[in-house]
Structure formats: structure tokens, C-alpha cells
């Protein structure tokens, strides 16, 4: 659970990170095993990764791909609390993580 782990994974999965994006790691113990993996902040400049994101290589790639989609969404259309918009954004983020994970597997 270090910045280096993240950098390595971003490189291996060929993910594209905006230059001004900051990725933080929240190591708090009470979130372990709570199946919370990531969070994109409403300003689109920060992503926080939680302990469960580091359980496996797959989870980390999927989480990074997922949150990067949210970063793009927030930067282009702003944050939202509308459940319908959230569900639509979530569908896109889930499709993207699926795509990135399969691409990664194909390249291995």
C-alpha cells in the first residue's frame, strides 16, 4: 500500500493519469474488509484509495480504472448527488474497469 505500488500498477495496466491528479491512500483499519475501494473527490483533483483496493492486483487495476472514469466525469460535468446520474456514471465506470482489466489480461 504505497505510492510506488500505485505507480507500478498504473504503468503495467497502461492507465493514463492526468498530471494534476493526486492519488492518496487512506490506510485506516476500520475500513478494512468493508469493500470500499476508492473515492473521487468532487473537485476531480484527488482520488483516495482505501485498504481493500490493495487486496489483489485485479482490485487495484479495477479501482484505478473506475476512479479515473469518475475523475473524467467530474471534470467534464461536475459532481452530482442525483441518484439517476450517479447510476449512469457508475455504469460507465464499471464498463471501463471491465475493459481495462480484460485488456491487461490480454497483454499478459
Amino acid at each position: 500500500m504505497t505510492a510506488k505500488t500505485i505507480d507500478d500498477m498504473v504503468t503495467r495496466a497502461e492507465l493514463s493519469l492526468p498530471e494534476d491528479l493526486r492519488i492518496e491512500i487512506d490506510e485506516r483499519r476500520d475500513l478494512r474488509g468493508r469493500q470500499l475501494y476508492g473515492y473521487t473527490w468532487p473537485d476531480g483533483l484527488r482520488v483516495t484509495l482505501y485498504p481493500d483496493a490493495f487486496q489483489t492486483e485485479e482490485e487495484l487495476i479495477r479501482t484505478l480504472a473506475h476512479e479515473l472514469t469518475h475523475v473524467r466525469q467530474v471534470r467534464s460535468a461536475g459532481a452530482t448527488t442525483d441518484s439517476v446520474v450517479l447510476a449512469a456514471r457508475e455504469r460507465e465506470a464499471y464498463a471501463e474497469e471491465e475493459h481495462q482489466w480484460r485488456s491487461y489480461l490480454e497483454r499478459q
Binding site: 476500520d30 475500513l31 468493508r34 469493500q35 470500499l36 475501494y37 476508492g38 473515492y39 473521487t40 473527490w41 468532487p42 473537485d43 479495477r62 479501482t63 473506475h66 476512479e67 469518475h70 467530474v74 461536475g78 459532481a79 452530482t80 448527488t81 442525483d82 441518484s83 439517476v84 450517479l86 447510476a87 457508475e90 455504469r91 465506470a93 464499471y94 474497469e97
Partner: protein, 670 residues
């Protein structure tokens, strides 16, 4: 307001409530502290990856977390769930961490503008000064919020027009500022929402809370209305806050509590209103404040009215009663509060007598106005005897009593042009063609739709003169016949005035043309004129009388001419009504004898049947409209000592026009 409504605070709530076995009651809302948190996962049906929404049912605040996976044993909604079901499962909520939070610079400026402000208007002015040039668009929602004019409950027309209690500060031909509340874009409502949560100043909570409630902006619009109501009460205690805005605010608070149907809040506001009125009754210089507040209390349901309300109303009469308008206000309120019909009647008699006394001290049009007010009270409240006496008093006033002043204006018209116009009527070879041309000219004033457009334009360009109550005085009796008090009645009076001016202008030409006619062709014989006037609508006997009317006019006996002519005009119009299939007689009914229908009724029934609506409107104006020349009634009721040459010329012109009218049958109604 939030103690710690951060992402971390909501994370702690998430961790607590989703821990197996999941229990939403396990954590308090980080904003309000209530144990009313709910959560809902929405996720991919297979992988269960998605987001978790958390919100508080008490305060409407919340937060969302993604990427998460739904723990085993917890229900979730698939990502493909329909919009309707998603919205039903997850209400709108306020996320303090989301980008919709108020930007720091906006927050700072709003705090600066509200600090030590003494009115909402002052907040508006300060905000405008604080906004950096070029950044107006980002600040417009805040500026609008404080620019709104809180509409009083008495301004029912304006309330209906605006669709809310918030009215425009400015209205121009091209637009208004601010926009109607319902037309404020959602993005600006989001700024209000953020401002309400970010700045706890009373000016913000009272105004923006009410705007959000009135706009029904979710989430938690009810909570905002309550907080606005409480803020309005607190503002009424702020020494520095503008007294008028305090009063308007309390009236609004009372209405807000009624809109919320919250009796406890209603009582709380009412208590504060009573405190303010008690204090105000100690001074005589601001009756408006006391009466506005008392009126609001009287408007409450009977069970919620403060016990001391009647006493307060009576004290207001004692404090401000030297002015009849204030005394009347107090009487009006007491009449609503009293439960005894006898007491109510006695109060209304007192109210009418108040204006009668005032009239006896006044002179001129003011005297008429007071007497009319007394008559209005007597009539409205069924005081028949008093109304009769007052009516006699009003009728007894002479034109001299009114002490009216003449306002005149001059318009220069080229003499040659007038000459050419008059000469055009006698340019024909035969007198018959000349007289037919005379009858064909018109309608004076032109097309009625054009008059309407012209009046509407005039009202739009010069709105001030139409805001003032206008009294139309009958020229023969000198008594008021019409009061223009609102847009519709002002329009009616203005149209009548426009038609009146046009017909007076035409009357001068009509006289000149008829004189020139004789000079040019000589007088046709009675026999020839009779023959000329006999037509579809004019039988020979009637035509002979019309011919006589012409002769009388040329003999300078205009009064006799009009008296001979008016019944014959009525005959011709009745013939027209019969020809187009309208009933012209009334059958006997019960004990009442039948008879012919009056001319006014016939002319109104003929609306839409004339090829030219302008001519129909002109005939109404000329013959039967009490706001118009009304010559049929003036002649038939003998209200004018002598009919002048100009008026008689207009009647001759109308007779000549009616001679030209032909009835055309169509497939439908004639």
C-alpha cells in the same frame, strides 16, 4: 448546521451502519446529530460493484461513496434500475462535500454583505458593490435572492402574476430583475442551496430559506421553511433591522407557518407579533406597522388568534383613530372579529357615518369621494336606509359643488387639409351620392381593435396615470358613473375616452359637411329625402321622419331634430335585429307585461353581426354606452336641457350610415 460534515465524517457513518449485521440506526447524522441515517447500495447485478448513498431523513443531508461492493446479506438496486424506482429509493439530499458547495469567494462576499446589514435590500446593494467586474454571472443567484420584493398578502393581483410571494425589483419593457421564481435556472437554485447551508446569517436563512421553500427545492424544503420562519422571528428582534422589513417578515412568518400547517410555529410567530404590536401602540407615528400585523393576526383561524386580539384592535382605534382611514382599518378588523350580527351592523353604520361626517367637512370632488365611500360601505353591508339617504345626498351635488378644473390642449391641423377633406364630400354630381358618402364615412375613431391596441400601448408607455383611481363623471348629472381602479376598468375608461374624442372631432366636421351640402346642392325636398332614406332597414314612414330631422337641423333646431331622430334610429336598429333573426320583443312572463327589448340589449346582441366591428362599437358609444355619448338615453330620459348642433349632426350621420346597411343571409346565422 454541521458540526463535522466532512467526507471522513460520512465515512465513519458508512463504516458503522454497514458493519455486519448492517443497521442504519447505529450512527448519527454528522450534520444534525439525529439517528435518522439511511443508506442504499446501487450496483452491477453480477459483480455487485457500484455506489453507496447515505442520507439523513431528518435534515436531508447526505453523501455518496464509490467504488464499493455490496456486502453479503444487504439488498441493493441494480445499476439498470429505472429512474422512477431510483428516485423513489434515494431522495434528493444535500452533500456538503460536493462541488455544489458555495465557492469560498462567494461565501466570503455573502458573509461580508450580510454582516451588520439592516435590510435585505442593503444586502443586495452591498453584494453588487462587492462583485468583481466581469464576475457578475457567478454572483447573480445571490444578488437575485436579495433583490426580490416580498409581496404583501393584500397584493393579490401581483401574487397571482408572480406565482409566489417574491416579486420583481424592476420590470422593464424588455425584461425584469430578478426573474420569476419559477423561472430561476436550477444552477442558481443550487447556489441558493449552498449559500443556505454555508452562511448562517439571519438575512440569508430568512430570505434564501423562504426562496428554497417557495421554489419547493429539494431536499428538505420543509426544514428550510421552518428555519426561515425562525430567522424572521429573530430578525424582528434585531434593533438595527429595518422596521418595515421586520413587519413584512413577521407577516410572512405567519403565512409560512400556515403553509407548513405547523400550529406550534403559528402560535410562536403570533406571540411575537403581539409583542411587536403592544410596543408599537405606545407610539402614534407608525400606524401602518400595527395594522399590517393586526390584519395578519385577524387572518388566522379563529382558534389560533391570540386572546388579546380584540383588545389590541380597539387600542389601535384609540391610538390612531384621529385619521379616518386608520379608524376605518380598526373598524374593519373589529367587524371581522366580532361574533354578534348586531355589533357588526353597528360597526358598519359607524364606518359609513365616519365618511359621511368627513364629507360634510370637505369640499369639491373630495366631498363626493367621501360620500361615495360612505355609500359604498352602506351598500356593501346591507344598510338600505342609510344607503338611500346617502344616494340622495350624492345626487344633490351640482357640477359647481365638484369644483372641477378644465384641462385643455391644442392640436394644430392644417386648414387646407381640413378644407380638402370637407370639399371631398360635395364633389359629386348628385346630392344623393354626396349624402351616401357622408353616411359611408367612418366609423369615427376607426377600427375598434386599433383603438384597443392604441390604448394598450398608451397604458404600457404611460403606466403611472393608470395607477391612479379615475372617476368618470356624468356630464349631465355631475355624479360619478364609473370608477377605473384596475387594469381592466382603466382600459375600458381609456377606450371610451378615445372614442369620445374621435367622435367630438368628427362632429365638428359633420356639422361643416352638412352645411356645405346645402350650400352646394340646396336642400332636397322632404319627398326626395324620404325616398333617399327608404331602404332595407328603414321603412317609408321612418324615412319621412328622418327627412324631417334633417330639415329641423338645417333650420338650426338641433334639439328638435335629435328628438325626432333618436326613436327612428332605434326603429332602424330593431329592424336590423329582426332581419338577422334576433328576438326584438319580450313575452309577458308571470305578472310582468312583455314589450320591446331596449336598444342597449339589441345592440349588444348584434355584436359580431356587423361587417365592421368598429361601426358596432361606434353605435354603442354614440347611443347607449354610459361612458360614451349615450345620446339615445340622454334624449329619451330628458337629462339634457338642449341637444347641441354637433351631437345632432352625429345622429344624422348615424341615420345616413344605417340607410346603407344591408342584411346578408348566410348559410349559418345571418
Amino acid at each position: 448546521m454541521t458540526a463535522d460534515e466532512s467526507h471522513e465524517a460520512w465515512l465513519a457513518v458508512f463504516a458503522a451502519v454497514t458493519a455486519a449485521p448492517a443497521d442504519a440506526r447505529r450512527a448519527a447524522c454528522p450534520n444534525c446529530g439525529h439517528f435518522a441515517v439511511r443508506f442504499q447500495y446501487v450496483a452491477d447485478a453480477t459483480s455487485k460493484v457500484g455506489f453507496c448513498a447515505l442520507w439523513c431523513e431528518n435534515c436531508g443531508h447526505g453523501h455518496t461513496l464509490a467504488r464499493t461492493k455490496v456486502p453479503d446479506g444487504i439488498d441493493f438496486l441494480p445499476l439498470e434500475t429505472s429512474e422512477e424506482d431510483l428516485r423513489a429509493a434515494i431522495p434528493s439530499f444535500w452533500d456538503a462535500t460536493a462541488e455544489t458547495s458555495l465557492a469560498d469567494d462567494l461565501k466570503e462576499r455573502l458573509e461580508d454583505a450580510t454582516a451588520r446589514a439592516t435590510s435585505w435590500h442593503e444586502v443586495y446593494k452591498r453584494l453588487r458593490e462587492l462583485v468583481p467586474e466581469g464576475d457578475e454571472q457567478r454572483h447573480r443567484a445571490l444578488i437575485w435572492a436579495f433583490a426580490y420584493d416580498l409581496i404583501s398578502p393584500d397584493e393579490t393581483d401581483r401574487l397571482a402574476r408572480e406565482g409566489s410571494v417574491f416579486g420583481a425589483m424592476f420590470e422593464f419593457a424588455e425584461g425584469r430583475m430578478p426573474p420569476r421564481l419559477a423561472e430561476v435556472p436550477d444552477e442558481d437554485v443550487a447556489v441558493w442551496m449552498a449559500a443556505f447551508e454555508a452562511v448562517p446569517a439571519l438575512a440569508v436563512r430568512s430570505r434564501i430559506g423562504d426562496l428554497l421553500w417557495s421554489r419547493k427545492a429539494q431536499p428538505a424544503a420543509h426544514r428550510k421553511a421552518r428555519e426561515a420562519c425562525e430567522a424572521l422571528i429573530d430578525l424582528s428582534r434585531l434593533e438595527a433591522w429595518d422596521a418595515l422589513e421586520q413587519t413584512e417578515g413577521l407577516v410572512r412568518a405567519l403565512n409560512l407557518s400556515r403553509e407548513l400547517n405547523d400550529e406550534a410555529l403559528m402560535r410562536k410567530v403570533a406571540e411575537r407579533v403581539v409583542e411587536v404590536v403592544e410596543k408599537e401602540l405606545g407610539r402614534e407615528d407608525r400606524p401602518g406597522i400595527s395594522f399590517r400585523l393586526l390584519r395578519a393576526l385577524v387572518g388566522l383561524p379563529q382558534t389560533l388568534r391570540p386572546k388579546q386580539l380584540m383588545e389590541l384592535v380597539r387600542r389601535s382605534a384609540a391610538t390612531y383613530g384621529k385619521d379616518p382611514h386608520h379608524l376605518e382599518s380598526a373598524i374593519e378588523l373589529e367587524a371581522v372579529l366580532t361574533s354578534s350580527p348586531d355589533d357588526r351592523r353597528a360597526l358598519r353604520v359607524r364606518q359609513a357615518e365616519l365618511w359621511r361626517d368627513k364629507a360634510s367637512e370637505a369640499e369639491g370632488i373630495l366631498r363626493v369621494s367621501f360620500l361615495e365611500k360612505a355609500l359604498d360601505v352602506a351598500r356593501t353591508h346591507g344598510l338600505a336606509d342609510l344607503a338611500r339617504d346617502l344616494r340622495v345626498e350624492v345626487q344633490g351635488l351640482t357640477e359647481e359643488d365638484l369644483d372641477l378644473k378644465t384641462i385643455s390642449t391644442e392640436v394644430e391641423i392644417d386648414r387646407e387639409e381640413i378644407e380638402r377633406f370637407h370639399a371631398a364630400f360635395v364633389q359629386f354630381d348628385s346630392w344623393q351620392t354626396s349624402l351616401a358618402a357622408f353616411g359611408a364615412y367612418g366609423p369615427p375613431g376607426g377600427d375598434i381593435a386599433a383603438i384597443e391596441r392604441q390604448v394598450a400601448e398608451q397604458m404600457k408607455n404611460h403606466p403611472l396615470q393608470y395607477l391612479i383611481r379615475t372617476v368618470v363623471i356624468d356630464p349631465d348629472f355631475g355624479v360619478p358613473v364609473f370608477h377605473a381602479v384596475d387594469d381592466d376598468s382603466h382600459k375600458l375608461a381609456a377606450m371610451a375616452q378615445s372614442q369620445w374624442m374621435a367622435s367630438q372631432f368628427w362632429a365638428v366636421s359633420a356639422v361643416a359637411i352638412l352645411e356645405r351640402f346645402v350650400a352646394h346642392y340646396g336642400r332636397p325636398s322632404r319627398e326626395h329625402l324620404t325616398e333617399f332614406f327608404t331602404s332595407t332597414l328603414v321603412d317609408t314612414i321612418t324615412a319621412e321622419r328622418i327627412a324631417l330631422a334633417f330639415e329641423l337641423w338645417w333650420d338650426d333646431r338641433s334639439d328638435e331634430s335629435a328628438h325626432v331622430l333618436v326613436p327612428r334610429l332605434e326603429t332602424s336598429i330593431r329592424n336590423a335585429a329582426r332581419e338577422v333573426g334576433l328576438p326584438i320583443i319580450r313575452e309577458p312572463y308571470g305578472g310582468k307585461p312583455g314589450g320591446v327589448r331596449p336598444l342597449g340589449e339589441l345592440l349588444h346582441q348584434l355584436r359580431g353581426r356587423f361587417a365592421s366591428p368598429g361601426w358596432h362599437a361606434y353605435l354603442l358609444h354614440l347611443l347607449v354606452d354610459p361612458l360614451g355619448l349615450n345620446l339615445r338615453n340622454v334624449v329619451a330620459h330628458g337629462v339634457r336641457a338642449r341637444i347641441e348642433r354637433t351631437d345632432a349632426a352625429l345622429l344624422l350621420h348615424a341615420a345616413t350610415f344605417l340607410r346603407l346597411v344591408e342584411v346578408q343571409k348566410t348559410d349559418g346565422p345571418a
